[in-house]
């Protein structure tokens, strides 16, 4: 189980990295944290001619709160975001999802950008991004462009990133007012990819109705799924068990899961229903708790 030979590039700046990609992008893979890529290399399921190691791009290692958004540089370690005070204290959706992502030793090395760009639909972070209505920023020698998750994810392990492009940032709008979030997942073992996971973010209007709702699903199809039907149902309504149950039904209707050795497609679909309801319930509780503080 040893990787095939590859040419190795370790640029020190983003410009250098983009230049290498412009030249060799078609034949290269980008090495970020390596927690998903290196297993594929070791198994020789991936045999790129070149690796572009972006771990030295300190300029992509940041977390910034700006204009009501949280912007995260692509090589920010998952562990760094997990420990970021705002995330720990006010964004349980993100904190819970990161906590469920692999193990501490994986998150020590794994990056935000690497996880999002790997595009494993069973992974937690893409679903979180979808739930939060976030966006991604891709860069190339030609410049930068923002991408909504809906236009970024194509299918299993495939995105619309051009081989000459690098994902440099992920960002999402920080929820305002009374809000609560939750991420729930079912996995066979602790730390595994989810059989199914559901991330929700609720924002409440002063009158107690739902002002905004974001729901993202993982393990429920070839890409992370935004449960738009369920979101639409919730907005403007007074939150409660019946509403949440119906939201679960609608989220399940939007899921397109498949069967594998761990769970059947039918099971996954029904779990979208169950977890959506439970996550909404938890998010509401948290919004209420935040309210009383």
């Amino acid at each position: 189980m040893k990787p095939a030979a590859f040419d190795y590039y370790a640029p020190d700046t983003l410009d250098e990295a983009l230049a290498v990609l412009a030249e060799r992008g078609d034949a290269a893979k980008i090495l970020a944290g390596g927690q998903s890529l290196v297993p594929l290399l070791n198994m020789r399921l991936a045999k790129p001619e070149a690796l572009v190691d972006i771990n030295r791009l300190r300029e992509l290692d940041y977390i910034r709160e700006e204009n009501g958004w949280l912007a995260i540089g692509a090589i920010t370690r998952q562990r760094t975001l997990e420990r970021y005070p705002l995330v720990r204290q006010h964004l349980p959706l993100v904190a819970d999802a990161l906590h469920a992502l692999g193990h501490a030793q994986i998150r020590n090395r794994g990056t935000i950008g690497g996880n999002l760009a790997h595009a494993d639909p069973a992974s937690e972070l893409p679903a979180v991004l979808v739930a939060l209505g976030g966006e991604l920023v891709a860069a190339s020698v030609a410049g930068q462009r923002p991408l909504a998750p809906e236009e970024f994810y194509l299918t299993y392990l495939t995105t619309t990133l051009d081989p000459t492009e690098l994902l440099v940032e992920a960002r999402f709008r920080l929820p305002t007012g009374r809000h609560g979030g939750a991420f729930l997942e079912l996995s066979r073992r602790h730390g595994d990819y989810a059989m199914v996971g559901v991330g929700v973010q609720l924002e409440l209007a002063p009158d107690g109705t739902v002002a905004r709702a974001g729901i993202g699903l993982c393990g429920a199809g070839p890409v992370p799924i935004k449960a738009t039907e369920a979101e639409a149902l919730l907005v403007g309504e007074r939150p409660g068990e019946e509403l949440f149950a119906e939201a679960g039904v609608r989220a399940a209707a939007q899921a397109e899961p498949e069967s594998d050795i761990h769970a059947s497609a039918d099971y996954r679909r029904d779990m979208v229903r169950v977890l959506t309801r439970r996550a909404l319930r938890l998010a509401l509780q948290r919004a209420a708790a935040a309210d009383t503080q």
Partner: protein
């Protein structure tokens, strides 16, 4: 920018357990192989080479990581700690003592990775609950102990380290 062609070797320098080593590595050489074969530090074990079992866990610049998922060329200039660096001479580290006392190991193959993960964990979280200990230990597979001895040992080590402070 560093660029190493696939057929060439790169000179690297790393400090492992406080000792400086130099090596010549192909880009594809895994850190786990570099430590074991090039440096002769066979305490770090290889159990799966795809990042699941955690046996190869070492500290790179203070963070516990899988050495089978890193290339040696990536750690040029880094500070590495392996299981061989835990004891001070003949004096076992309190973690090692706790594992000895509480039967935290049997075959010993997963143990180096378990210890290195626990080392970082207790450094960052000196007073953990049992659940936290289990969650962290879940990053290492062990087939002998049922984790019972491992969990007891880490909790005991936390108490020991607290008392020593």
């Amino acid at each position: 920018m560093r660029h190493v062609a696939r057929t060439r070797k790169q000179a690297i320098t790393v400090r492992v357990n406080g000792i400086e080593y130099e090596g010549q590595v192909e880009p594809r050489r895994l850190l786990s192989d570099f430590l074991r074969e090039d440096l002769g530090l066979t305490g770090t074990h290889v159990g799966c080479e795809h990042g699941i079992c955690g046996a190869c866990t070492v500290l790179v610049d203070g963070r516990a990581v899988r050495s089978c998922l890193l290339f040696a060329v990536q750690v040029d200039g880094a500070e590495i700690m392996t299981v061989e660096g835990l004891a001070r001479g003949e004096q076992l580290h309190p973690l090692q003592e706790a594992f000895w006392e509480h039967h935290g190991l049997q075959c010993g193959f997963c143990t180096p990775g378990v210890l290195m993960a626990a080392y970082e964990f207790l450094r960052d979280n000196p007073n953990p609950t049992e659940r936290e200990v289990r969650e962290n230990a879940a990053g290492n597979l062990c087939r002998c102990t049922g984790y019972e001895g491992i969990v007891r040992s880490i909790l005991a080590a936390a108490r020991k380290l607290q008392a020593d402070r």
